[in-house]
């Protein structure tokens, strides 16, 4: 039995909102195997976005244990978490979050530039660009693409550095049904083709159905389906 790529034990996160403590995560336990496609489903305010942010190294946990590809997030400084985002985690956001002034190709390139990766795309990634259907759109600006195309660019950018995990936060939240299905099909395809571990946050059960496994989140705690 190999070590899970994500290992979470008794994870807690408390925010200070004004003079009130908000307990966003109240003892989360989760193990995600390498190559697994996991969906975390829950309503707004359930704590799933907080979990996403902690796993992505965007905010530190309050207590508990979080291991990502063997790295303990609890022991990480700000710069360690920056390095984690650079090397081990890829993000896909609901709002795509592409840089509007750069072309599609440069939006992907800049992730490589930040990670100090040089040289041409490898053959495997070229194939991914073909699968995503954006290989011939590298010179376009994001505003020239549809929402679905922009999200496919964001997916390409998220995996260009071969991260240990791909975190997707409501990746179909801004898309119509047809584009949502296409994006989810692509995520599943990448998971199977590349063995890419994917953790997807969604409130949509239909989107979650594309995953290998679904866990539910409510009131800051996870419940297996």
């Amino acid at each position: 039995m190999t070590e899970p790529i994500i290992g979470i034990r008794d994870l807690r996160k408390t925010f200070r909102s004004g003079e009130v403590d908000v307990h966003a995560l109240r003892g989360v336990d989760l193990a995600v195997e390498r190559g697994e496609f996991l969906a975390v489903v829950g309503p707004s305010g359930s704590g799933k976005s907080t979990l996403f942010h902690i796993l992505g190294g965007l905010t530190p946990p309050t207590s508990g244990t979080v291991l990502i590809d063997g790295q303990d997030l609890m022991k990480m400084s700000d710069s360690d978490r920056t390095r984690l985002r650079k090397t081990s985690v890829g993000f896909v956001f609901q709002k795509y979050n592409l840089l509007p002034t750069l072309t599609v190709g440069d939006n992907i390139e800049i992730a490589r530039d930040i990670a100090h990766r040089k040289g041409p795309f490898d053959q495997q990634f070229r194939e991914v660009l073909d699968v995503l259907g954006i290989a011939n759109k590298l010179d376009r600006k994001p505003r020239q693409l549809s929402g679905g195309e922009q999200q496919r660019v964001a997916i390409a950018r998220s995996i260009v550095n071969h991260p240990a995990i791909l975190l997707a936060d409501e990746p179909t939240g801004n898309l119509d049904t047809e584009n949502s299905t296409a994006v989810l099909d692509l995520l599943r395809d990448l998971n199977r083709r590349l063995g890419q571990t994917i953790l997807m946050i969604t409130h949509n059960p239909e989107a979650a159905a594309f995953a290998d496994r679904i866990v539910h989140m409510r009131d800051g705690q996870l419940h297996a389906s």
Partner: protein, 372 residues
Amino acid sequence: MPRYNGFLVYKLVWENLKHRPVRTLLSSLAIGLGVTMMLTLVGVGEGMLRDQEARTRGVGADIIIRPSGSSAIGITPPNINEKLVAWAMEQPHVAQATGVVIYPLGGVSTVHGVDFEALTKMSDGFTFLEGRPFQVGAQEAVIDEYYAKEKKLHTGSIVKMLNRDWRVAGVFRGGKLTRMMLPKTLLQDVTANTGKVSVIYVKLDSPARTAEVIAHLKQTLTDYPIYSMDELASQFSVNSIPELKTFIGVVMTLSVLFGFLVVFLAMYTAILERTREIGILKALGAGQGYVLGILLRETVLLAVIGSLMGIGMSYATRWLIATFIPASMTQAIVYHWWPIASAITLGGALLGVMYPAIKAARQDALESLSYD
């Protein structure tokens, strides 16, 4: 396919500047104004000094005798006894000597009283574009082409000066002594300086004997500053005018301040506007140094564009000066000041970007991503 490895950040910077062309243009223009201010001020200083030097050399003399206690290039009141001109003429190797009265009209404007016949002989002649030389004793003036252009004067025009009306007798090609000349004796009488001159120009039978003749003249005229024309020319520099150096220092400080404020405001608003983009970069793993590097490069590029615009605008100010006030001012293009003015402006710009850039680099990735 990957094309810009190593240059992508520069491309991002360039695209950011292109994305807001009006702001980029206005920021660069404002930065450039500081460069133009410096280049114009130094250019006018140097231009006027060079012009004065050229006109002094245009007299054709080898030696200049100035009143005791005077500086090399200041405006000199007429207090040399005119009899010294005749005395100078009798000295060995002196081919010719002529005394000139310089009378201040206010500011840096002066009028020169000359013995036109002697001056013509010494300077190998004047070229008249219109009219003729003034007649001795007549209340007439001759002016150079630049003065005529600026004041829109022609032969027959009347110039009011020293409470009198002076008729313009002719307009000569510029580059000799001064812009406006009057009959010497008349100017002496009108200004109550009869028998006195401000400087004496001396021409030798051989310029090679200049040092020898100066040494001889100094034996008698012990209190009088006596210069060769080369010595005098070396004094025509910004460094020999402390007031100008101080003024240049003030303008340089203002330019730094200007660059600082412009870049501070421009980059502060740019960073607010790009909060989300900074969040994206941070989510991708960009550290503080990466974000800081982007903003510093953007500032350097703005300063470079601004400096180029400033240099361009200094040509515009030269054209304006040459077109509208060619007699009052002359602006030189001071190439050696291009890097100095650009570096000063860049310094101000870098100071200006520091606070916004550090603020941006320290932004929390999550908060930045949530920014709309």
